[in-house]
């Protein structure tokens, strides 16, 4: 069992996985209460264009995808604040337009693109030391902001007007939340893939919601559930020789159903 931890790729995957799991679950709590599930999915898919730009330009795709996703998130925020269009429509436009851009740009890159496949479906083998460094630094910045301003973000998420009048800089923290979310989603793409990453924003938070009766509990149990799913999912994917991203999501889903059944039975 401990033998697998001696593989450097597994060490990198576990470190990056746990860090990204904490980040996605912590932000996912706010995604759930703000009913922004489509945002995570949209940003993940939109990041394909960033990956394609990076590959085409010969740069590391991850930082370029992060920057691209942040720009898309800010554009969504602007359109939400300044047009009559609802959030789902705006996200849908950027999601599909960026995917289309990504597909067109990819067609200009000759030959098989293993990097592209790893972004689409996630691949623990593809996590490099520089990816671990990027994930660690960006996650540390986001988690520091989140832990300092958690009360403000909760206030804005529940009642933005009252928060603003109480002196909370609600527009600033809203923009920072969008940037943090876009960054976290793209960091998760490396492990879970574009198609599945948004699941880790939602499932641990949903599991936690069934178990806890306070917002504080909701926040920490979601993180715990996410980390547990990442560790079990990675180990299971190693032993089964199955795709890591999909295995992690299946483990998280299994945890969700077990909790749903147990809490239902215990209430009878």
């Amino acid at each position: 069992m401990l033998e697998i931890l001696s593989f450097p790729f597994m060490q990198r995957a576990l470190i990056a996985g746990i860090i990204v799991g904490v980040l996605l679950a912590a932000l996912g709590v706010y995604v759930v209460v703000r009913k922004m599930a489509f945002f995570g999915d949209g940003i993940a898919h939109a990041s394909l264009a960033g990956v394609a730009i990076g590959l085409l330009a010969g740069f590391a795709p991850l930082p370029i995808a992060v920057v691209y996703a942040i720009l898309v998130a800010l554009a969504i925020y602007w359109f939400e604040a300044n047009t009559k269009l609802n959030s789902d429509t705006i996200i849908g436009i950027f999601f599909t337009a960026s995917m289309a851009l990504g597909v067109v740009l990819m067609s200009f890159i000759p030959g098989f693109q293993p990097e592209l496949i790893s972004f689409l479906f996630g691949n623990i083998l593809s996590i490099s030391t520089s990816d671990v460094v990027t994930v660690s630094i960006l996650s540390a910045i986001i988690m520091t902001w989140l832990l300092i301003y958690r009360r403000h973000l909760t206030y804005i998420s529940l009642d933005k007007d009252s928060a603003k009048i109480a002196g909370v800089r609600s527009d600033l923290h809203d923009i920072l939340f969008y940037i943090a979310l876009a960054t976290a989603v793209v960091l998760g793409v490396k492990i879970l893939g574009i198609i599945l990453v948004s699941a880790l924003l939602l499932i641990p938070a949903a599991t936690s919601r069934l178990l806890t009766g306070t917002f504080n509990g909701f926040f920490w149990v979601a993180i715990l559930s996410s980390v547990l799913s990442i560790i079990l999912g990675l180990l299971l994917s190693f032993f089964l020789d199955a795709p890591s991203g999909a295995t992690i999501i299946l483990v998280a889903t299994a945890v969700f159903f077990i909790v749903a059944i147990v809490t239902r039975i215990s209430k009878r």
Binding site: R151, L158, D161, A163, A166, R209
Partner: protein, 245 residues
């Protein structure tokens, strides 16, 4: 409520305020004062622009023309010294947060549990039993009191309430007005509220602003709420006795 209206120092001065969006005028050229350390009610029929006016005064929505000053400064300078109670229907009751966690959101710096217990007691709720309840399990009246408790956590100079008594039973409406009277007299707070309960407004507030797209009346209720004004606000068939509980 004081029986006679005297000229008081204004807390809020509204001058030539016009609000509209998408080319539609919601409020046009309103000018009035809100006196300091008194209870003012904004009344008017549905769609008269009461909530729009409150939100424009608070800087939540922009206005096209005019000015609003609070204690002589732009409203934004008073953020942090104002308590705001939104309509309780605007709060998502499925949000998984307990009453005490909700109160803690209003605190600056470290959480003061004694202050939470104090304000819950002040609004007539048991800090031990209600404090740990999720907001989704509160009754309408309890939720309203919790929102008032959150707004007074920081001991604000001015308290704004958007329809605090709407949707709760008759006894509950009465007790909310009594609670606001106590808060005003105990803390010298300026209170501005939107209300539909004209009979309670007449009994419990010091000043009214009557709205029907434009300003219809302003002043102490005994003087301002004449039969003529009430018919102008609520139509020719309005009978104030029909509105007595």
């Amino acid at each position: 409520m004081q029986s006679q209206h005297h000229k008081h120092e204004p807390e809020i001065i509204v001058k030539h305020l016009s609000v509209g969006y998408d080319g539609k005028v919601i409020l046009s050229d309103l000018t009035f004062d809100i006196p300091k350390k008194k209870i003012t009610a904004i009344i008017g029929p549905n769609g008269s622009g009461k909530s729009t006016l409150m939100k424009a005064i608070l800087g939540i929505i922009p206005f096209q023309k005019g000015s609003v000053t609070m204690s002589g400064h732009p409203v934004e300078k008073s953020y942090g010294k104002i308590g705001y109670v939104p309509q309780r229907f605007d709060i998502d009751r499925s949000f998984p947060i307990t009453v005490k966690e909700l109160l803690s959101l209003a605190e600056r710096g470290s959480i003061n549990k004694d202050r939470m217990n104090e304000v819950l007691g002040e609004v007539g709720l048991n800090p031990v039993t209600v404090g740990r309840m999720l907001i989704g399990s509160l009754s309408g009246g309890q939720m309203q009191r919790v929102l008032i408790a959150r707004a007074i956590m920081t001991d604000p100079d001015i308290l704004f309430l958007d329809e605090p008594a709407t949707g709760i039973d008759v006894a509950g409406e009465q007790s909310i007005f009594e609670l606001l009277e106590h808060l005003q007299s105990d803390h010298d707070t300026t209170i501005v509220m939107i209300s539909h309960e004209v009979n309670l407004v007449e009994k419990h507030v010091d000043n009214v602003i009557c709205l029907n797209r434009g300003l219809v009346c302003a002043g102490p209720p005994a003087k301002a709420l004449s039969d003529k004004v009430m018919k102008q606000l609520y139509g020719q068939h309005y009978d104030r006795h029909d509105h007595d509980h």
